[in-house]
Symmetry: C2
Subunit: 154 residues, 2 copies
Amino acid sequence: MESNNDKPSTPTNAGSTGSPGTQAQAKGFQAVRKAHQSEIVEDYVELISDLIEQCGEARPVDIASHMGVTQPTVVKNLARLQRDGFITREKYRSIFLTKTGADLANICRHRHRIIVAFLLHLGLDAETAEHDAEGLEHHVSNKTLAAFEAALEK
Amino acid sequence: MESNNDKPSTPTNAGSTGSPGTQAQAKGFQAVRKAHQSEIVEDYVELISDLIEQCGEARPVDIASHMGVTQPTVVKNLARLQRDGFITREKYRSIFLTKTGADLANICRHRHRIIVAFLLHLGLDAETAEHDAEGLEHHVSNKTLAAFEAALEK
DNA sequence: TCCTAAAGTTAGCCATGGCTAATCTTCTAT
DNA sequence: ATAGAAGATTAGCCATGGCTAACTTTAGGA
Ligand SMILES: [Mn+2]
Ligand SMILES: [Mn+2]
Ligand SMILES: [Mn+2]
Ligand SMILES: [Mn+2]
């Protein structure tokens, strides 16, 4: 999976190959890429959960308007969610979360709310807080989330 | 480019089609998708700028190890950066930033540093701060960035 | 000088996640 | 009861951004 760039010899270029700082930076970028893979799943299960709460059911057309994408895009993403065990569904019927999906939704909603609360606490308006939280939530480590919560306590 | 979902008629399901909250949420998701499009460009120009500073030149092999990807991946992404006017290069030679690329690098570095400083200010360790900043930096609006700076002043 | 290892490139594979166009199903209102 | 609208699906397109394998070029050291 990884390349073994740990030759101490002929480091043509200074301060690059596999230095501790380099590796740490690479880890950061890899974490970002990993977060992007989970992102759609997280946003979808959270939205589906909200729609079931608020509307009684989660339909592709509503997911599409909330996500700002077309219905075929929703259908395609729902197929992945089903494949990966987060939802169950039958053709032309509304969508249900599996236990796995519902659990993930709760975790995501919790995370989301902490971030929004933290941004509001910093003095931002509600719209900006919601707007930015939608992206930030996927890149906040547990440590940082805890720091946000701690700041809210004070 | 956009679909016109502003039918006030027959909203079969309550509280969904084009309601103000729904549209605001959609705007948030759209902003996240847009951020993801600029992300690679931003991270690459910032890294290239750093490598030129620290090593005297930016070579694909070093970009690869810092980004945690393979060299062919770097080459492909560099082709896009060149196509879009952020870098210039000749085959088998190291990479240079255009004015556009260098300006963007400076903006990104500035942003990056503010976020790291803010996370450190919250009490996080340096590694976590750098790690999380790598993702967060692409999802912080100007308003939120300003709020971070304000918090640092105090 | 020239051989070889490292660096760079190319080709080609795959998954993701957007989109439009066209079709099919469901549901509602007459 | 049924026609038409709204919703759902399918098919097929495209760009992105990972990867491996194979090849070419460059450059350092014997
Ligand atoms: Mn992101
Ligand atoms: Mn989100
Ligand atoms: Mn969310
Ligand atoms: Mn980044």
